[in-house]
């Protein structure tokens, strides 16, 4: 990221700069501290910290990770998260890009209403919709091969659908803005070549939207992976919980052992942290897409 253009004058007053760095450095370290503390705690043995207090050094071990992984069955829960996150993100991007394309490409009197309907849906408080949705999910049957609960409730399908429905609005909004900025001539050329609407969407628009799609995909993966509420209320079987919501179940098992809690927390955070450090640019761009000129 490049810093914004400043007024261009190098100030001769250095102390101000030093103070600025001191301040920002202190804040940054303070901000990182809770995370670093969790990492530090996770690598120490419970016996050592119980005897010497947490404000001490020593008792280094990786046992907490081994124990946490085993007792909490992280492997299974990570897999559950993948079952939900991957299809949900792909479906969200696909459906949202379809709507965004129509909104951006055609002038149509319901465009604004449509955009508002999708965007607002993303902002509604989810708890306010829980009652009817909960009831609906317990009424809608699924064949046994799709879900062993034979209902939309307590199934991966239900969670995928609800995540898609909620995240669509955000992506429609971002993508339609992005698509509106594409040059109109492209479509004229495509139409001269006889491309129908679907090809204009799939072969002309979508490849050009790759940067926006990548940014949104990064963001949506973290959001849906981090999603806690729907999985907590629309799932019953602990074994099927995605990893973020399974945390709450793990808490009971880890109750008295903060070293284990921190190892578990670090494990849950790892996927998002990896994404964050590898795709930081995409992540930030996704969040701020449209807020700046880029």
């Amino acid at each position: 990221m490049t810093a914004a253009v400043s007024t261009g004058r190098r100030r001769p007053v250095r102390p101000a700069r030093v103070a600025l760095h001191l301040f920002l450095g202190t804040v940054a370290v303070g901000w990182l501290f809770p995370i670093l503390w969790a990492v530090l705690t996770s690598f120490r043995s419970y016996e050592y910290t119980a005897a010497n207090g947490y404000v001490s050094l020593g008792g280094w071990t990786v046992d907490n990770y081994v124990t946490a992984w085993r007792t909490a069955e992280f492997g299974k829960h990570f897999l559950n998260s993948a079952y939900i996150t991957v299809p949900a993100v792909l479906l969200t991007l696909f459906l949202a890009s379809c709507v965004a394309f129509v909104i951006a490409r055609f002038s149509w009197k319901l465009n604004i209403a449509l955009l508002g309907l999708f965007t607002a849906a993303n902002l509604l408080p989810q708890q306010a919709l829980l009652i009817p949705l909960f009831r609906m999910f317990t009424e809608i049957p699924l064949p046994a091969w799709m879900s062993d609960s034979e209902l939309l409730y307590d199934s991966y399908w239900g969670l995928i659908l609800v995540n898609v429905a909620f995240q669509c609005g955000f992506c429609v909004f971002v993508l339609s803005n992005y698509m509106k900025a594409l040059p109109h001539e492209l479509y004229e050329a495509a139409m001269v070549d006889g491309a129908n609407v679907w090809r204009q969407y799939w072969q002309v628009t979508m490849p050009l939207c790759r940067p926006a799609l990548a940014a949104l995909a990064t963001l949506e993966v973290t959001w849906i992976y981090n999603e806690f509420f729907w999985a907590t209320v629309l799932m019953r079987t602990g074994d099927k919980f995605p990893v973020t919501s399974s945390l709450n179940n793990l808490r009971g098992e880890f109750f008295t052992d903060n070293n284990l809690v921190s190892a578990g927390s670090v494990l849950v955070a790892i996927p998002t942290l990896v994404i964050f450090f590898l795709l930081q640019k995409q992540f930030v761009r996704g969040l701020t897409l449209g807020a700046s000129k880029g």
């Binding site: 007024t7 804040v27 999603e227 930030v284 449209g290």
Partner: protein, 318 residues
């Protein structure tokens, strides 16, 4: 998770292609072939049905149910209309309601008065050309990638009575998460920790979209950095200011995960969102009553969603 509301598209400068008027880029639907029209209809209809069915239909149903005495078990035909009785009960005979409203307002106040301005302030500092800006930014928005549920756990390591850092260093006996007199403040620190980074990120992006020539002009006129910010930059950023404020309100209203992982929103951590959830998945399944609580949330949020949409749509049109 979707607790991060969106914040897009207040374009400081609309791209040239976006300024086409009716009839320019846009084509009328009736000029299209039949297949094309079918394709377009499907492209809109499928996502629309999903969002309408899973978001808007439940929203309307919540409002309707709030006027009934449905217990959630009996057939729909036995539902009786009870008017505003549920609202009356919520306000008058439901002890957690008042604390929940107070906590939601406190949440809003803390984010609005402390976390949001602090995030904006950091963004302004980071917007200057300074070395190591990237490190500072990364450190500040790292919490944004963590789920709020996880943040509840991370901060427990600091707040825990027997094993926490706070009591370890200061030797107190406070149960920061458990004591109903202090736990809301402890939670607010954790919530603010994340909110600051988020606002910083959004605001920084907004600042980068401000036309540099405005500042240059102000500097040439001899305006100080501070007065340039308040007199030139801040007013130009009106749309993002509004969006940041609306985001803060919506975040405060939707706050849920953090208190739910701590104690399911009881014992000092009551929030309206947690009360709604308790009334559905908890031991007491009082549908009409829970719906009244939910409708209150809906009504408040719709006001701010409208402001948000109005702001972003107007900016998009310009």
């Amino acid at each position: 998770m979707s607790d991060l509301p969106l914040i897009q598209a207040d374009r400081a400068v609309p791209p040239p292609a976006a300024t086409t008027t009716k009839g320019g880029r846009g084509r009328r639907l009736r000029l299209l072939s039949r297949t094309d029209r079918v394709v377009i209809t499907l492209m809109v209809l499928v996502p629309l049905l999903l969002v309408a069915g899973l978001v808007w239909l439940p929203a309307v149903a919540t409002v309707l149910l709030s006027g009934t005495n449905w217990d959630g078990i009996g057939p729909i035909s036995e539902i009786e209309w009870v008017g505003v009785k549920n609202y009356d009960d919520v306000v008058n005979i439901y002890p957690p309601f008042v604390p929940a409203v107070q906590n939601n307002l406190l949440w809003l106040a803390a984010l609005f008065v402390v976390a949001t301005p602090f995030g904006m302030f950091l963004a302004v500092l980071l917007d200057k050309e300074i070395r190591g800006s990237r490190f500072y930014q990364t450190a500040l928005y790292l919490p944004v990638v963590l789920s709020l549920a996880l943040i509840g756990f991370v901060w427990q390591l600091i707040y825990s009575r027997d094993q926490g850092l706070l009591n370890g260093v200061f030797g107190g006996e406070t149960d920061w998460y458990g004591d109903p007199n202090v736990n809301i403040w402890a939670v607010l620190v954790a919530a603010g920790w994340r909110h600051v980074g988020y606002i910083m990120l959004l605001y920084l992006a907004g600042l980068k979209g401000v036309d540099p020539s405005l500042r240059e002009a102000a500097a040439v006129d001899g305006s100080s950095e501070t007065s340039t910010f308040f007199r030139v930059v801040f007013p130009v950023m009106r749309p993002i200011n509004i969006i940041v404020l609306v985001v803060t309100v919506i975040e405060s209203l939707r706050a849920f995960d953090l208190v739910w992982v701590i104690n399911k929103g009881r014992n000092g951590l009551e929030l309206i969102s947690a009360l709604v959830t308790q009334n559905v998945v908890g031991e007491a399944s009082r549908i009409g009553f829970g719906s009244a609580l939910a409708t209150i949330m809906l009504a408040v949020s719709l006001v701010f969603i409208t402001i948000y949409l109005w702001t972003v749509m107007r900016e998009g049109k310009r």
